[in-house]
């Protein structure tokens, strides 16, 4: 029996603000899972803290709402102990790129086969709108006492140099496009990063839905509205590394593209490189039966509770009678 979208939804009341970009991301995740018929019981969605941290409670898969900034290590731990699980990590931009930035970089180095989605609205919503690491320098969103004094981090470029092997950006109000990106991220072999631009209708009065759709961005001649977002795939951009020799060239393009902001902002797949071994493959190279006999799957005791681990080889090294 095919799983329906409703099978991925819970009854939990959703208390996000009306018009929150989170809704679009939530729907996209649920639609992607349904499209791919991912078994809910075999899926674990981890989240950080903040509005986006509540996401797992609305999805009917295993849902682990962790600590502020720590979603990646929690999620990686589960995936490494049970490599059969489909693992998705979600969290806010402050969660992942501020308090959790160290984990972000280190996760890239490991390339664990899972997905990380950042809900990027440039503010800390749940704590009433402070500047997040993706808010541009000098911008003053409505609850900031002063314009933002920090420069912004470029999440795609940071993920690239950290070693993530799939990089994409979506927009929370383009659900179909975002859903397709998430499906590609899930299908990707390795660590996939999806940066999702989203308005915070309550606290970000600069990067609003209207701003993204370009209501203020008029063609000087025609006076027509020019949407800020454009799709990379529609420009002939190809970020897929087909051969390892293309890596440098493709990486340079990612940096160039991800720096675009202002009147033209690209969304779509920036980069994909499946030539880098995943962490699971690296472990398998040392522990040949790791996947078949993973930490979670290993039997550790017999029926009587006696340990089945045989440490005699090690104990023999300590013995004195031989």
């Amino acid at each position: 029996m095919a799983l329906k979208l409703a099978d991925y939804k819970t009854e939990v009341h959703n208390d996000w603000c009306p018009g929150c970009g989170d809704f679009g991301i939530l729907n996209s995740i649920q639609m992607a899972l349904a499209d791919m018929q991912v078994p809910p019981h075999n899926t674990a969605i981890f989240s950080g803290v903040g509005c986006s941290g509540k996401t797992p409670h609305f999805i009917k898969t295993y849902g682990i709402h962790t600590l502020h900034g720590r979603v990646l290590p929690f999620a990686q731990g589960a995936k490494l102990a049970n490599p059969d699980l489909e693992v998705l990590a979600v969290g806010g931009d402050g969660d992942g790129l501020g308090i959790g930035a160290g984990h972000f970089v280190s996760a890239g180095r490991r390339n664990v086969d899972m997905v990380y989605i950042i809900f990027n609205n440039a503010v800390y919503g749940l704590t009433k709108g402070q500047a997040s690491p993706t808010l541009k320098l000098g911008v003053k969103t409505k609850s900031l006492p002063q314009p933002n004094v920090n420069n912004s981090v470029n999440p795609i470029a940071l993920a690239l140099v950290s070693g993530f092997t799939f990089l994409a950006r979506g927009y929370s109000y383009d659900i179909k496009h975002l859903k397709d990106i998430i499906k590609k991220a899930v299908a990707h072999k390795g660590l996939a990063f999806v940066d999702v631009l989203q308005p915070c209708p309550t606290y970000n009065d600069i990067n609003t839905k209207e701003w993204f759709s370009g209501q203020d961005n008029l063609d000087p001649e025609t006076k027509k509205v020019m949407p800020r977002l454009y799709k990379l795939e529609e420009t002939g951009y190809d970020g897929i590394v087909n051969d390892p020799s293309e890596v440098n060239e493709k990486m340079a393009k990612v940096v160039e593209k991800s720096n675009e902001w202002g009147s033209k902002i690209p969304i779509g797949v920036f980069y994909q490189n499946e030539h880098i071994p995943t962490y699971q493959e690296r472990i398998s190279a040392r522990i040949p039966n790791y996947i078949q006999n993973s930490p979670a799957g290993q039997k550790i005791a017999d029926e009587t509770g006696r340990s089945i681990t045989n440490i005699e080889r090690l104990v023999n090294d300590l013995r004195l009678d031989r």
Binding site: V12, H41, I64, L72, L80, A81, H103, S307, L320
Partner: protein
Amino acid sequence: MSEIINSLSWVIGGAQGSGVDSAANIFSRACALGGLHIYGKREYYSNIKGEHSYFTVRVSEKPVRCHVETINVLVSFDAETVLRHFDEVSEGGCIIYNEELLDTTLDEIPTIDDYGSARIKKTLQKAGLGFSVKDALQYAQSRGAVLYSLPYFQLLEEFAQKTNNPALSKLTRMTNVMALSSSMSLLGFDADALAKAIRFIFRAKKSAAETNVQAAEFMYNYTAAKFSGQDGFRYRLKTKPVDKEIVIAQGNQASAMGKMVAGCRFQTYYPITPASDDSEFLESNEILDLHGSDEKGSTVVVQTEDEIAAITMAIGGALTGSRSATATSGPGFSLMAEALGWAGMNEVPLVVSLYQRAGPATGLPTRHEQGDLNFAINAGHGEFPRIVFASGDIEESFYDTIKAFNFADRYQLPVIHMLDKAIANSVMTLPVFDPGRVKIERGLLAGKISESDKGVAGNYLRFRLSDNPVSPRIPLGTKDAIFWNTGDEHTEEGHITEDPELRTQMMDKRMGKLDLALKEIADEDKAVMYGDKDADIALIGWGSTKGVILDAIEELKKDGIKVKFIQVRLMNPFPSETVSSLLGNSRILVDIEMNYQGQLGSLVRQHVGRQYDHQVVKYNGRPMSLDEVYNAVKRISAGNAPRRQVLKNGS
């Protein structure tokens, strides 16, 4: 003067990186191969190469569990070792030294800092001596030590010529084995057992092993020919038949082996002294043999970016049903505090091996202390259940590790297994580990759920409220059992709630597990009594002071002083009733701890309502010696001890 057979304290010192450890390991193993008991302890600086490190090995025909103050055999091949330890050498003992360094003075050794230098100068000055190696040796000699001079570099040359291998003359690294071998020759120890021990320690490098065996033989014979043995050096080692049930083990291996037996299959860590060895041992032996199967088991060991990642990754692993652990020391444990609370909140079984070292901050990174007890019991904000369990020695740490995982599973909470530098960096002979002694108990871990575990919405109730505070647990990935976790207060399904009634019920559920644990955990895992149960003096302690206290009790007994010792093992929840009953009618309670405050003493006052009468504490980073504890208790027994005695010995 009569000979003293099979009872001595042997010390080798040298610059870090010069093979002090290898030499000491060879010595320890050789003695053990010769049927003798040993206890060895390693002291070293937070440094890679050059600073002074030394290894003390106590040898006896009976089990030994601590070090003593005096040195009977001081083995050196550098000047610093002589200058640092000359005044510790006993009458009838000896110093083996490099005669080519006789004129080296204290001021020429940059690794002895001003404070140490001033202390040494004071000692030498008082004796009217100068500050050279020669002066130090003279000091020792005047106090009855026998001096053995060896021209190491000349001997290396000779050895190189003899073996037709000129390259060997430059191999100053070998002076460690040469010095060690000389000491064995002087002690009259069996040369075959020595060769066997050398081959074992160098077993990974066969050619190095043979060169070292040859060098050892060369030095053994040279020493025997040069020194008569009729010069007042009183110590001898005679081999005895080996007891098959005795092994020699290092503290940093025992808990790791316990993890293998316990079925811990996922361990995370961030490098930190003295905890890293635990993880490295697991990783070095990541493929595991299994009983009754050709298939292999394995431990996935992950080095993380920091300790926050270490504990959260381990929690992620634990959620999949894999027994999971992380190992750290104080600074790392400080970083783990928030996640510890998450594990408590979400009832995740997790073992944290906490290898204490001297704090706070970076503290004395390679030195010993028991300063983290209060912190282990209280780390993290808010209130959540955790078990804190402390091992007293290497042998206990093996079995306790398995028990720690059992506690974690049975009560679904984080267990902090307290170990320390003194355990991690010591080596001793002990009864062979029996992996079958502790059964694996996984508590309410189910492979599937029953209808009664489901709520009205048809969802599995991970945190089901019932008479039992422990609710059935399911690994992530189990069919038909989806649940949620959150660091927020949660419903039975695991969804966020701020309902006041449910909050109270969930707090009661979680904290109630501690009452259950106190009820169910065996007495022997709560607190253990040694010595004379009717003794007037009761010593109370925890962790690695066990060894020195037990050895001191035996010495005190020889003086007719009866004491008992209560070793507290379950530090949280505190076993008030057990401790209270073990204390019995003892008139004088003595708290002995390796920290400033007497943290256990406070716990006893808090939980048992008994204020200690005397306190014996130490916080200079060096473990308590037999002499220190013996003297401290003896003073108490004689009625002339201050309420607080601070021990200060050790170099």
